[in-house]
Symmetry: C2
Subunit: 250 residues, 2 copies
Amino acid sequence: MATTLNPNVPTFSPAAVEDLLTGNRILRRAFLEQPSHSVGRQGAIYASGGGEGPVILIQRGVAFRSCSLPDGRRAIIDLLLPGDFGGLDHLVSGSGNEELTAANTVAYRAMRPAALREMMVNPAVALRLTALMAETRWRMDRNMTAVIRLDARERVALFLLDIYDRLRRRELIARPTYNLPLTQEQIADHLGMTMVHVNRTLRRLREDRLAMVAQQVVILTDVDRLRALVSGMPALADLAEPLRDMVLAG
Amino acid sequence: MATTLNPNVPTFSPAAVEDLLTGNRILRRAFLEQPSHSVGRQGAIYASGGGEGPVILIQRGVAFRSCSLPDGRRAIIDLLLPGDFGGLDHLVSGSGNEELTAANTVAYRAMRPAALREMMVNPAVALRLTALMAETRWRMDRNMTAVIRLDARERVALFLLDIYDRLRRRELIARPTYNLPLTQEQIADHLGMTMVHVNRTLRRLREDRLAMVAQQVVILTDVDRLRALVSGMPALADLAEPLRDMVLAG
DNA sequence: CGGCTTTTTGATGTCCGTCAATCAGTGTGG
DNA sequence: CCACACTGATTGACGGACATCAAAAAGCCG
């Protein structure tokens, strides 16, 4: 087995691991029984004002949750990779203000919130859903911290590293190279910068031989020095070893 | 009854309201049976690395969740007001990276995560916990959007208005005036600016007769024009009418 | 009154945004 | 097959919003 990626990754409470494992299994099985959907690039998986949105499990592709202002400004609040769940707040909210958009072609399973709520009578499922929401929050904590206190270079470095770690833990990649289906403008909307400055920052990272990003392909040429850039940040929280999301196919 | 504060506040799914009400009642009752704790200004309610942190319900005072970098930079990620729950991710996480600090003297009830997990066998409680986590996420979405895409003036205006709305909905205040036990440096750490610039921005708001902030006292002199400043932002999500948190005393 | 934190203000600098033009990649239809 | 259009990437010149540095003033507390 792979060793833990980082010494102080938040782990799940031991007392809860059993339930989390069970809940994880049940939940994924239920989603995999649903029909598979697909949306193309820039397509909406759900949008605000569209009634009760679904809860989804991403199987292939990348999606992002965003908030758009009327004047054209936009914030990309969270990024969902294969294996991530989205729309969990639809469990309780009739109408949120968020929208979920496919960055590239996305294949996903969807469930109605009502069906999921019924599954929550199983405490293991309920606990697992709590864990999923907590995970989302850890991701957001991180990006929030980055946007609040890191400079452009650090922000981009952290962003590239975090996606790398998330993909690696799911064993979707093995080497420090991956496909990132976001335009520089979308990256800018996620990191709180302008497209132009994202471009310049990426160029500098390239010149410094830290990372190369071109045409949706990311190559981390020096992971160690990248990590050193953001060494002040706490580790990326993710599922503990026994909870890795292995069931993606189906 | 008061009318809804905003036409398109996200409401809870009708199908879930019954359970949410029940869960809310049970949950608060359980917390109110716990002994009351108190911490002074700048005291830690829980910190990273302190073992399994508690889940808490704030009764009096204001607390903030923050992430500190070794070089002294700090991000204040979320603000907790009376009636808010904190540390919900301790339900699943053994060791997070967050810390919760009292802004002024805070009185709160605390429960061990294990006890709460046992209560989750009740689906109503589980659903209510999900709702609480969703609510936290809506708050963070908002501040994330603000820090990513609003300028300093808009950020401060939104910040002051949001706290105002949160306090008002809990009926902790009736007029556009409240106590805000944060230093300008802490406000800066929450909004992603420097203390100096927060100060200047507050001065401009005062000169424009929009809001006065002095010595922890906030007076919104022109709520309408303040709202106009941030009219592009979606409404602040909060509990629907039947779910207002009324049980604070005890 | 000291000693502390917090606020306030000025002077100066810089990181990043804005504007604008060019270039590259992709698709389309004549 | 090549104009044409369109989106996204890239780069330069310039400006501004915000940060940094520094110091004084104002609260706060024993």
